[in-house]
Amino acid sequence: METKKLEYYIKRHNYVGISFMALVVTIWLTTFRKSAISTLQIISLLSLCFLGWSLIHHYFDKSLKTEVVIEYLMTVGLVIVILLSFIQ
């Protein structure tokens, strides 16, 4: 891949990542410790956003492979399993 194109990809990659980061922070700040929304709902919402966003992004990046999907699923699974121990 030529250097300019590579630099463009890296920049786009980072901008998209940072915009997702902003989305996560916004969702978290507007929902956590709000009485009507449970922690499980917040984490489910964040997980869906994370998985949906990664699926779309990697699809357009042409990098959507089974291993990539499994990696995202494992990350979500890890966070959910840890947080579920608190929810009785």
């Binding site: 891949m1 590579l6 990809y9 890296i10 990659h13 980072n14 998209v16 990542g17 940072i18 997702f20 980061m21 996560v24 922070v25 969702i27 978290w28 956590f32 410790r33 009485s35 009507a36 922690t39 917040i42 984490i43 964040l46 997980s47 994370f50 966003w53 990664s54 992004h57 990697h58 990046d61 042409k62 990098s63 492979k65 291993e67 990539v68 499994i70 990696e71 494992m74 990350t75 979500v76 699974g77 890890l78 966070v79 399993v81 840890i82 947080l83 121990s85 608190f86 009785q88």
Partner: protein, 294 residues
Amino acid sequence: MNWQHLFLPHKETHKKAHLISWHGLLIYILLFMLLQVGFSIFAQFKPGVLGIDARIDQKKVIELTNLERQKAGLLPVTESLSLDTAAAAKAANMFQENYWAHFAPSGKTPWDFMQGAGYKFSYAGENLAKNFYTSEDVVNAWVASPSHKENIINSKYREIGIAVVDGVLNGQKTTLVVQMFGTTQALAQAPTVSVGGQKIVLPQNENQTFTAEAPQFVASANTQKISPGVVDPYLVYKTFGVGVLSLVGVLLVVDFMVLRRQGVYRLSSHHFANLSFLAAGVVTLIGMHPGVVL
């Protein structure tokens, strides 16, 4: 296997470090599940060893409750010994019958305990809490729940009874907080109770013809509870969870920096997205407490 590959991306293939590959993540998930299963089995074989070392004070709960009423422009509720006794009996019954609900499996209702303690009410309500560490945590959780807050700031209530009782519930040492509200003034309408915010109107004669035997009390209701030597499973979950998520986060940062220095672009790695999701998980985990209200 080179130990460096556990923490750093592969020099030639640029593959992720083993500890943040999907295999590594799967191992963390399995370890965590094993820990949870281990704790629940242990709780069955050694009841009372796992649990929470709570420091909840009955007087403080009443004080904080009245503070909330004051904020709402209401008169404070005064402590009723009959309601204290009823709350203690309710808590003792919950441990005895091993349940977490307003209504006992044997059919006992919150108002059975009130009437059993000789408290004739026109209005009554009940809030429950378990697994909280401090009095502030308990009242804050009730206030955060609209239905429980409704009980706290109900202008019809004049009296309050609180029980803070330690016992073993589902194999774990648990501190139950039972908060009962009531009004003894005789009103024309049928007696009304509110359990966790849910209103129930009792038949007129139920309150008057109650003949059930007063429950036996097995716990005192007004002392500070501190039981040393208890293993707090939630603290273990939190420590282990924050540790694992932080480790994955740190290794992702290392991965990002190494790839950047090597000038490598890996399509499958989205460091910012992963890091932000993990950070949300860590912050949520730190802010979580095992307490539940009913």
